[in-house]
Structures are given as structure tokens and as C-alpha cells.
Point group: D2
Chain length 261, copies 4
């Protein structure tokens, strides 16, 4: 079965702003979805204005990785949908958060911090330097990715220490930013990737798209489905066993092997 | 000025259960507070039944470290108070979470995970092994702390990877548990410490009390108060500068020093 | 091309000790190699007594993952071979270190610490608990692996903080141990896995063998081959560029796009 | 007793190069030592040309924190002295490594990697951004430190993932660098700090000196001196105990308390 991706977009700017629409005529979600489909992934999209924002239990159950783009309408996302997405992540769904999604409810929920940062809109040159060359997500990027015109994001970026830091951005105006990072949450994987303003054609950049595809594949790993305790606190009912005879003769086995060992 | 601690307790079991009261006549909070006061700290207590659960803005503003014990009444803690405590942590207040506080709203909020685990009440022997001998919190514990009768907590413990893992527990019945761990959240520090059931006199154990005092001191560090961006996303208004003349003669300075360098 | 593994064994106990030979007639290396071959991997073995300990440049260049078992003869391994193996790891070869290999020269070299621990030979029961259910190496283990008779290894284990902690062992005699952990070193991946004494049939245990196969597959990832700077400090010769015009008109691009963006 | 620091310098450039001598007339070591003494620390210096490079067992035993500056003569440092310093770090001595010390034997020994990087000498502007505002070492730096003329160091910097990343540098020419980072090794703490070329007056920069003093204080913490196993593998001789009676009556204690609990 091929990997199933849902690309979520609040889909506001593309409707309200002609300039944005000229870059992303069908919305940022369709631009990204098209690229992922071309790589053989099974991709659907979802937007804020659909019932349950397009994130019904059925859709989430059929989603291996959810990608999230939001900016102007973070506060319009319903809290119960955020709860639902968080539960799915903890049970193994991957989550890729894009650019201004740093301030989305779901990202703040999973991080536990404010996720604040500084920013400046000045069409600056950006370079995303690879600091983890041994991570699957950074493959195909060479030593850095260059984006000629970008909105700047600067430190301090209020996130928990990443489980792995993948990219650090350099900006023309003097700032740096931890631009690509991953975290485990429960059985799920989370990838934050900075590039992607609505007024620049950054989601047409081949290496940015390459990293998104890498990120989706890496986040799809759902892990051990026997970890039943996630989200619960089950009483461990096994009685204590008699574990410990006192003496030991070298070479002897204390516990006769049930099978091979 | 001495370090200011607020010990919070839902204070339910000690009122409802005579056996618990026999161990903690004035409540778990007063037992711990008494020990911390004896170490020269400035300690107040707060409980669920007070206005704002005793955690008014004034109290929190005058608190360097908050200690949290809850078990039976997690869901009775008001969400707006949880918001308030989280904000204070992100701005530098330390938080020490005890035992069954793993399922408190504030701990789950800061972790982003379910914080689930397994458990068994069988008065088992527990040993908390030090795995970070170079951390201030583990000082005075030797190689391990032994608790003769404890409730068991077992893995998988659904927490984000700790920034530093301090203690790992061994239980008589066959389980292990990551019993002491720390995380940074914004400018604040969080310490989770497992020991402490209401039906065992664990908060009378000298080494457990020692670790709590160590934990309070470590969490009190609030860090850099110039990090204004926490919780916000301020526009970085400085214009781009002309940074880069092209030529360089060895030994020359590109930027004439303003002062010493 | 299938994944190429070299299993290294000092191959001393199996020759000197009849009891060990009865468990591993062809040596521990052949026991493990046979299992990996059955999974479709391309496996060769190497031992201390061969020229260059069987680790010639040709062998290492044709090795994606090296597995290391040593115990009695750590100090007989030549330093220049250790240098050679370390270089290959930094350039992308995976390394799986088994049991008493914790004290091998190559593991200590890559860790930078003493890698000391405590131990006891008493055929104790061991349980390896999964603490990272979302890691590929822990798949197929359920919640824990049980080994009925094992040598104990105890904390403090003097290793750098793992990049990811995968397993924590419980021992009948009261100890715990960080039994499975991974680290990145350069472009290479390192996995330490505790089980495996020479006098117990632990490398016949199906789940232990499963973890070894998982570990080999995970460590085989060599990462970005464009990271030329590993092991060197090349002068970055590009001249500084004129990067920063001063003015910005909203919507304008500062840097005319070379291609799509 | 005040904190005891030894500042080590190969002391080559200052003797061979008049321009360097004009900036550091008594050597880089004396420049730094003078600053630390002014803060009340007990500081001695040591150089390559002294017996044992000035790092006799007596000196190291009386050193809480060692600071290391080397550049042109890394290969002249004797291996047995590197062994000695490493042992002291593992037993609790702090180590602060400066700038080109990234290629010193002792730093590579403790990291296990090549510690390679890229560089360019073009008197570029550098900004060291604070990414860990809650760490003692970053206090007093505001949001970033600016150095008007610096040698550039660029990624990929081949180090193990830091236990905590403190500073990320921005360079005028387009690079970034992980400029301040800490690691635990055994009971010792290691801090790498990038600034400090011999041809720029960077060790006169007040904030750089502030960070060095912060770093020395943080690295001085030696931790738990009961962790006897560091560097050894002692047999754990305690016999197995009878740990596990089968039945449990609620409220009962399985193990009658020896003292308070």
C-alpha cells in the first residue's frame, strides 16, 4: 500500500489576494500535493472551510502523514479537531509543519511552548545549511539550499530542544534560524520546516520540494503497535514472581530455558 | 533574596482517607514545605480548594519554583489556571512535578504527549539508579536510592525524550522506569521525579527529600531576561545593512572597530 | 545491491573453552552471520588472527555495516586498524557493538569516554524494556525482551548521552542498564546492544537476533555524500558577495530568480 | 576555596609573528588569565614548551577547569599528556576549548569525530545568536554577540550532536556555525566556544570574555564523587537477594521499614 498523505491548508491568502493566487493558483496545498503525487504518493488535501476542516476521523485514520500550512486563521481551527489530530500523532501519524505553521494550535500543542520567533519581510536571500548530513531528510540538498527571496525568521525560536536539528538558516540581514528539526511525540514523528511564504514561489523550489518529500517519507514511520499504554495508564496486573534463588554455580542456568535459550 | 517556592497539592486524599492522613497529617504539601523551609528556602503552599487554586497572578509572580502534586482531581484544575502556569514557566518559573502529577494538565501541556505509563500497587522495592552523575540534581544520592515499599510505574512512559535523563528505576516485579528527567521549556526548567505515593511515607525518605531540594534549586534558574520574543512573534524592523565589500587584504580590518575590537 | 555486513569476532573463547564452543561451535560471528544471511544480507566475517584482523581497506570499503564482538583480547587489536575503522565510520559505515565490545578500542574511540560499567555473572533473568517504540531498531520486540539467564551489566555506564535511548534493562539482582542506544558520528551511525555473553546461548534468542538485523539495517544509512569537509578543514575560497541592497518595496524580489524561484 | 583554572596555550604565534604579539603581548593565555583573575578566580597558565607541556599530574589535580588554545602545533602535543587530560576530564575536570582548538588532540579524543569544518579569513562580521537563553553560559549576551572582524568557520562541523547547543554564528559571507556547545563526558563537562583568532583582538571583546568566565564556572561542576565505576568495570559482588514474596494485601508493607520509611 502506498504512503497516504493529507496536505492541509487554511486556504485563505490564495482566495483573498490576487498576487498570492498568481503564485499558487489552486492553493499551496494543491501545489505541494501535485509534487508528492508525482512521486507516487497517495495524496488528498483538506482545508479550513470543509466540515471538520476536512479532518474527519475517517480521513485521519487513512492518513499516514499530515502536512500543515496555516497563517492568518490559526485561531479559527476548532480545539476538538486539534485534540483529534494530536491523538493521531501520538498513535503514530506523522506531522510535517510548514513555515508560519509554527504558530498553529497543533504545533504549539505538541511542543508545549509558545513557538514564538522574530521575522522581517524583505525578500532576503536565505541559505539553509545542513547540520545533520546523516539524516534521511537532508538527502539531496548538498551542503545548503539557497532561496533567493525569503521572509526572514530569527532566533530565539521558542521550541523544545529538537531531537535532531537538521537545517540552520542564514539570512542576508544578519539572523540565523533553526529551520529544520524533528521531534518524537508518542509513536509519531514531527518535522518542522521553515521555508514557504505565501508571497514567494518557494514551494516551486526543487530542493524545498525534495525536502518535503523526504520529510513525508521519514515521518510515515509509525513504530511499534504493541505499545498499548500510549494515552492511558493501565494497571499492570501481573503478580510479582518468585525471581531470585540465592546461589549460583558457574555455568549453571538459574532459569531452565523454555525454548532455545 | 532567598529562593521562593510554592508547593501545590490537590489535597484530596489526606482529607478523605485516614490512612493517608496518618502519614501526612498536614498534607503532602506541608510535609515537603517543612523540609524545604528547613533548608532556608522561602516556601508557601497552595491547594485546589483556594480561589484560583491558590495560584493567583500575584502568587505566581512571586514564585521562582512551583512544585506540583495531584492524583485524584486532575480534571478539576481550571484550564485558565493551567494557561497561567504555563506562561510563567515559559517566562522562567521552574516546575517540579511529583509522582502521579505525570497525568496533571500542566505536565501534559508542557510535554505535548499523553504522559501515560503502567502501574501496580504492590509495595514493591524500588531502586532509583543515577545515570547522570554530573547533574546537580543527583548529588547526594550515591549510586542509587532505595525505597523499600513503592507503587510501581513502568515503561513505556509517553514523554518527549528528556533533555537529560537523571534516574532510572528498577522495580522488584520486573519493570524499569525513567524516574527523573528534565526538560527546558522557553526560559523555564521542568523536573519530573517519580517517587511519592500517598499511601507510603516516601516524602519522609531523606534522599527523596534531598533530590527535591536539589531539583528546586536547579529549576530556579530563569535565564536570560532579554529574550523578549518568548510568546510573541515581533517584526524585526531593522533595515538590511550594506554588509559586504568585496576585497580583503590580509591583516586588514573590514569593519573599523567601534571600541576595543 | 544488497546490504553488505562484516561480522568481526576476536574468536578467542570459542577456541579456548569447550563450554563456549558447545554453544557457538563455529564462533559467535558465524552464528550471527548465518542469521543475517538468512535475511538476505550479504555477510562476511573477520577475526583477530587474520592479516589486519581481517579488516583490510578493501574489506572495509566493501562493508556497509561492521558488527563487533570482543572480550578477552581488546588490547591485541592494532591501533592503526582502529584508526582505519574509525575513519570508515566517520565517512558513513555503520557500526554495531555487542555486549563486552563496550570495552573495545573502537567503541571507546568513538565515544570519548571510558565506557566502564559494573557486572555480575549469576545467570540472572534480564528484561530489555523498549523506551523508544518509534525507532526502527525496536520493532518486533513487543514491550520488552526477556532473557532467562544473562550476565548482569549495571549503571553507571560511562557513555556520552545517547542520541536516542532504545532499551533499558532490568536485572533480577536489582540493577538497571541502558542496554540499547544509538549515536551519530560523522556520517556514520553507531548502535550499542548489550545482550550476548559467550557462556549463554543469547545469540540463539529470536528477538535478540531480530534486533541485530534491525540494527544492521538502521546503521547502513550512510547519508549525504556531498559533505566533503568530514575529516578536513578546507579553506572556503569563495569571495564575499555584495549581498544587501538597502531598500525593499513590498512584493518586489530583491534577487531576480535564476530559475523557477 | 576559589575555583582553580589552568589556561593552556601552545604559545607559538605570539612568538613568531609580530602582528599577533602586538595584540597579545604576553600571549593569549595571559590575556585570558588576567580577565579571569579579575573575576576572583585562581588562575595559572601552561604552555607547550614547559615540561609535560605544563600539565603535570600535580597541576591537573589542582585544576578544576582547563582552558585550551592551540592552532599551529596540535601534533606536537604528546599523546600521553592527552591521555592524562582525558582521564581528568572523565573524573570531573572541566574543559573549555577555544576556536582553533577544535582540531586539538584532546577535543578530537573526547568527541570521537574528526572535528573538521570549513573556514575563510576575510575579517568578516560575525554574530553569535543565543539559542539557549536558559543556559548559565549565555547570560549577559543579550540576543546576540557581534564581532566586527572574524575568521569564518562554517558547517558541516563534524562533532557529535551537542548535549546542548548554546550559540549559532552568522557570518557576512553566507555561512552559519554551531559556535557554542556543551557535552558531558564521564563526570566532566566540556564547552566549545568558537571566537578567538590570533590576528583579531577577539579576546579583548567584553562579551566574549564574559562567556569564557561563564563557561569556566559552568564547567567547574564535577558531580557525584561516588561514581566509582568510571574508567573501570568492577564486578558487582553482592549476592542476589530473595526479593519477591508473592502476595500483597492493600496497605501492607512488604519490606518492614528499617528507619523512617
Amino acid at each position: 500500500m502506498s504512503l497516504r498523505v493529507t496536505v492541509w491548508n487554511e486556504f485563505v491568502h490564495e482566495r483573498n489576494n490576487e498576487f498570492v493566487r498568481s503564485i499558487y493558483p489552486d492553493g499551496i496545498h494543491e501545489q505541494i500535493a501535485g509534487h508528492l503525487r508525482a512521486q507516487g504518493l497517495e495524496v488528498r488535501t483538506a482545508t479550513l472551510d470543509r466540515p471538520d476542516h476536512g479532518l474527519t476521523p475517517e480521513v485521519l485514520d487513512a492518513t499516514d502523514v499530515l502536512m500543515w500550512w496555516g497563517h492568518a486563521a490559526h485561531d479559527k481551527v476548532r480545539d476538538d479537531i486539534v485534540d483529534r489530530v494530536q491523538q493521531r500523532v501520538l498513535h503514530g501519524m506523522g506531522l510535517v509543519v510548514l513555515h508560519s505553521g509554527h504558530f498553529s494550535k497543533i504545533f504549539k500543542r505538541l511542543m508545549g511552548t509558545s513557538c514564538g520567533l522574530t521575522w522581517r519581510e524583505a525578500a532576503e536571500r536565505e541559505r539553509l545549511w545542513v547540520v545533520s548530513p546523516n539524516h534521511p531528510i537532508t538527502q539531496g540538498c548538498g551542503r545548503f539550499i539557497e532561496i533567493p527571496n525569503a521572509e526572514m525568521y530569527g532566533e530565539f525560536f521558542d521550541i523544545p530542544d529538537p531531537d535532531e536539528l537538521l537545517f540552520v538558516s542564514w539570512f542576508e540581514g544578519g539572523e540565523v534560524f533553526r529551520s529544520g528539526a524533528v521531534w518524537h511525540r508518542g509513536r509519531g514523528r514531527v518535522f518542522y520546516f521553515r521555508p514557504g511564504h505565501e508571497t514567494f514561489p518557494i514551494f516551486h523550489h526543487p530542493q524545498v520540494l525534495q525536502v518535503l518529500a523526504n520529510g513525508v517519507r521519514w515521518c510515515a514511520f509509525a513504530g511499534n503497535d504493541q505499545m498499548v499504554s500510549i494515552g492511558q495508564a493501565p494497571n499492570q496486573k501481573e503478580p510479582l514472581e518468585e525471581l531470585s534463588p540465592k546461589d549460583y554455580v558457574a555455568g549453571a542456568l538459574r532459569h531452565p530455558p523454555a525454548s532455545v535459550c
